[in-house]
Amino acid sequence: MTTQPDTATSGAATPRGVPNQPPAASAGPAKPSGFAATDVLVSQFDGGPDTVERALATPEELQPHADLGLKDDEYDRIRQILGRRPTASELAMYSIMWSEHCSYKSSKVHLRQFGEKAPKNTRMLAGIGENAGVVQISDDLAVTFKVESHNHPSFVEPYQGAATGVGGIVRDILAMGARPIAVMDPLRFGAAEHPDTARVLPGVVAGIGGYGNCLGLPNIGGEVVFDPCYQGNPLVNALSIGVLPVERLQKKEAAGIGNVVVLLGARTGRDGIGGVSVLASATFDEGAEQRRPSVQVGDPFMEKLLIESCLEMYDAGLVVGIQDLGGAGLTCALTETAAAAGTGMRVYLERVPLREPSMSPTEILASESQERMLLIVAPDKLDAVLRTAEKWGVWATAIGEVTPSETPGLPGRLVISWNDYTVVDVPPGSLADDGPVYARPLREPADLILLQADRAETLPRPSTPDELRETLLRMVASPNLCDKTWITEQYDRYVLGNTVLAQPEDAGVLRLDEQTGLGVALSVDGNGRFARLDPYEGAKLALAEAYRNVAVTGAEPVAVTDCLNFGSPEDPAVMWQFAEAVRGLADGCQQLGIPVTGGNVSFYNQTGAAAIHPTPVVGVLGVLDDVARRVPMGFRTPPAADGDLLFLLGD
């Protein structure tokens, strides 16, 4: 039904009040048509936007590459790739895609170990490099799960930062073809009594709860840790898990020449422009205040509609390829889908439904507006896609098409125009895959020897009853050990009716199949203090803890996801911690025989020269053939418990 003015365009791609035009999809490449909103504003750009033509004509024009975070040699490489200077839009796209956050330029050389050391595995249907790893758990069912960080945005605007963190990870899960079924939230804050913690924590918790509750996703676990090292850099990691029939697995490839590129979901606004490259790739300093406007605001209701409409489209076989729009917006989705398929793509930016009509093409490409997905659709399925979108009340607009390569055997080009101005003409692989890769210098932190020498054995031990009592009271009063109900009761754990175990259990357990009782267990753990003392062992310990938490429920651990939260990679000591942690996690996974299926790296968690403790957060997924046999952590209540025996395993 079309109760929403917004949806009026879903069917016909024709906004209200604009004379009927043919659906954007049939407009053909020659005639950019569709949204008139931006047309009138061309004159506002002195002579129009920076075009490829203009870039060729003005090769020496100075460009602000350094302000956009691109190093001189990176800028030179862009000129080399293009054979000219980039246009303003292209420059923005390279700056986004070659940022640390998107390109993994500092971490790539280390993360390779996850693949190289991965044990033989037949369950993994999709692994590192996909939106999220997918693990087969029965003949016909698979699950996908991943943990991601939203640290910097959550420090700037705790509620929206945390909320959109949940929204983002849920879209990753959705993009794999899965129905998202739960979330978890590993959190780190500064000292519990610090005034800024009082600003950040309630907002973060309300944001995670608000978004997850509105989506109808049970929260089945997480962590809350207080430590002064996180004072200026709280960590907000969010994990989501989804389930899919094996045959519904989706791809991101923009395959099939002539297929239509459809933008689905919320309208595009000026949210978070420059957010990813600026927020996630730079340390906080006094300038942070000025960056504040780049926060995104989430609309969980729209995301709920997006989920339902996408699932309906998958089930009807309407989608060839799909990619969520995350931090890097259209730039990332367009380049990654095209690069993955090796095809070209032709995109008409003036068709993108806008919230603010005055947006420039560069802004449209860089916008981080939430709740959007990019679909690749066969032309004969387009109508059905638009109809499904309309039913759920979300915008769906054909914004381009998949094009062949001009040179057989070579990948195609991504050509983007805006009202007859060609603003982008690039090889998509150069943005998505061929970003810079650095083997950054590593150096063991100078203070590590001292830290390690300061052993726990040297601490005074309580020896009198009074001392023991005092120690015990101090421990139970510690914010890190005390009951977390004041946080977890702000989350819905019951929705969907399949939560078998949740807080305060060691792991969350979900039922996937009501008939067979097939289910999964999930735990997410990390310990920054251990990792600070020894990042190699600390990462292994995080893995072991999550593994144990899953195993004690009765589940068989089968896969790992991780979020690696560190300081600045440009600091050799931080880089050493990172390298050690990755090595530890990869070795640990090899020893336990389970693969890392995906994850996320968050660098620059650092205020001035002070980095956070290295904080690898590890999620482990386990499978239970029958959730009725799960083992809860509490003793049973009498009378059932009468005569139960207690055993201690291990030493």
Partner: protein, 271 residues
């Protein structure tokens, strides 16, 4: 018996409500907010969630959904309607029930296992409970604080239309600890906590919620005699033993202690 479960955009507990009705023995029919047709259902559940994102006020927009106009008419004609959480909010916004659900007094969303006392057992949705029966079911809301003027509250009390009250702690500041109310005819019930999340030992704190769904089936089976249900909290002598099907042996057999969730394992093991 055909029980309809409405899905609005933003409904979240619709699947759970459908499952609960199914477990109770109903044939479940999914209803769509944009379709005014009720497809011959004998009763309707408005499930929890955030219909239309709960912009403005919870339930304010859902009230105008095409399906709601039909339901409102049918409810006035005696169709059993149960509004759970967001459904309760919608029923109040649609003026099928008095009062309003306002922001929790502590300003937080709160999810916990909550004890209730069932006070009106003559309604279409609570006749399987014994008067005064204490039940444990999850509550989870951000705007669940029932508010009405004194006259309305007094009227509700006097007419025996307070269906359930919070026990051992009021989770949201509701006036007079009200957790659920009914209309004068007893066919429309709104409840803030979630009985549909307490129908399976494996996933809920108890099986205490099942009675709502078995009640309506019993009510429909005896249709015709239910005309005078109002003030029927004194009725219900046989109710305790009729929680129906698998619920029967567990009615009132909820788990001891405040922390039902973590103890549910014990119950599961016995099953």
């Amino acid at each position: 018996m055909r029980i309809g479960v409405v899905t609005f955009p933003g409904s979240l507990d619709d699947g759970d409500a459908a499952r609960a009705a199914r477990i109770a023995g109903a044939e479940v029919v999914r209803l769509w907010h944009g379709d005014p047709e009720l497809h011959g259902v004998d009763g309707v559940i408005l499930p929890g969630g955030f219909s239309y994102g709960d912009a403005l006020r919870c339930g304010a927009i859902a009230r105008f959904a095409p399906v709601m106009e039909t339901i409102a008419d049918a409810a006035r004609g005696g169709l059993p309607v149960l509004g759970i959480c967001n459904g309760f909010q919608i029923l109040c916004e649609a003026h099928l029930l008095p009062g309003a659900l306002t922001r929790n007094q502590h300003l937080h969303f709160r999810n916990r296992d909550q004890w209730l006392r069932v006070e009106a057992t003559g309604t279409a949705w609570t006749n399987a409970y014994a008067p005064g029966q204490e039940i444990l079911i999850p509550v989870k809301n951000g705007e669940g604080c029932f508010a009405a003027d004194q006259r309305t509250l007094d009227e509700l009390e006097a007419e025996g239309r307070v269906v359930a009250r919070y026990l051992r702690g009021n989770p949201n500041g509701s006036q007079r600890d009200i957790a659920a109310i009914t209309n004068a005819a007893g066919n429309v019930v709104g409840i803030m906590p979630h009985p549909e999340h307490a129908v399976e030992a494996l996933t809920g704190p108890s099986l205490d919620g099942l009675g709502f769904f078995t009640s309506v089936l019993r009510h429909l089976a005896g249709a015709g005699q239910e005309a005078a249900l109002v003030g029927a909290q004194v009725q219900g002598g046989p109710a305790a033993s009729v929680v129906g099907g698998q619920g029967a042996q567990v009615a009132g057999g909820h788990l001891a202690g405040e922390h039902g969730a973590q103890l549910a394992g014990g119950q599961g093991a016995q099953r």
